[in-house]
Symmetry: C2
Subunit: 191 residues, 2 copies
Amino acid sequence: MESIVRHFDKYLPLDDREKEALTSRLVQRQIKRKQYILQEGDICKYFTYVVEGCFKMYGVDNSGAEHNLTFTAEDDWITDIDSLHKERPSKLFIEAIEPCTILQLSKGDLWYLYTNYPKFDRNFRVIIEDKYIELQNRLLQTFSATAYERYESFIEQYPNLANRLPNTQIASYLGITPEFLSKIRNSRTHG
Amino acid sequence: MESIVRHFDKYLPLDDREKEALTSRLVQRQIKRKQYILQEGDICKYFTYVVEGCFKMYGVDNSGAEHNLTFTAEDDWITDIDSLHKERPSKLFIEAIEPCTILQLSKGDLWYLYTNYPKFDRNFRVIIEDKYIELQNRLLQTFSATAYERYESFIEQYPNLANRLPNTQIASYLGITPEFLSKIRNSRTHG
DNA sequence: TATTACCCTTAATCTACATTAAGCCTATTT
DNA sequence: AAATAGGCTTAATGTAGATTAAGGGTAATA
């Protein structure tokens, strides 16, 4: 619980009432590798804070291939906002890549915090804005950079994750096959 | 100015003090076709509300090709959040596709509203969340759908814009060439 | 120790889409 | 009325990256 309180110090720090309101509503859970916290077709119920470990969020296309949208590791948030807000079946999966410790806030509790403590509106506005920026840069890259360049950016942007994740997951994030990633890695080191 | 006040009725409607605080800070401008309100390298200064007309926001890759990230028409907001927030040079252009009427809020005024009227934190949180959802769905499509499928979705999602925009702009949004869009359109109608 | 399950790599072949180039049509400018 | 500039289309050729297939490495079960 301390980690999430410290997390909010990056934005507008919480006072004691706000801390109490938040932490009393958070539910801590342990998640095993390969366990899902959201599956396609489900309605997403939680906004999830990752204390320890790493998740991937991905969609599956008509031919069954997985496409990683994001990775989420320590001190970061993950949810399918579309499904959470609009209460419609999710198109996505959120799956643990490592054993994880998480803190979850239900939609009802999140709404309660928004209504009674405006600081949460502020802090989550900034959190979402930062995520929007990430996504916008990613989309721009997807359109205007080659797979080689996207791989370079990935390494630059996620130096931690680059070593933690198997190449298959990175390939799925970059929008290429593991075979082609292998080719890229090879062309970087030799020649 | 009425249109923007009505716009906020979709979220938490503004009271008289909030209306006054907002409208007294908005600056109305007329923008001609092909005029920029943001160019690559500039630091984005405004959050812009479109009263009338249509803008495109795009990036240019190493070989000079344009890639449309979004279109923004009536009753919608546009800015480069990355540049506005972090005060760093934008990688993007925002250009009028049609003659436009806009209302602009400077960063300073926006911050003032956030600090003094928490409802703006709330309303802009929801606005950004909706934009995040759009972007996430677009990224998922980009990865997992063919150009044909993406064209179908575009038409479904923007029935207005599909008729208003030249095909070159739609192609740039879909991430394909106008030539290939022409092929797709043809294969839809004949066989 | 064997077994299962991933994961990484190489290489041959294939395909969705890009590139180039040309021709035609309609608006806008001169 | 002529000229210029966009925009749409067709068609030939080119290429980034997919697909398929196979072999080898390593970690977690049994």
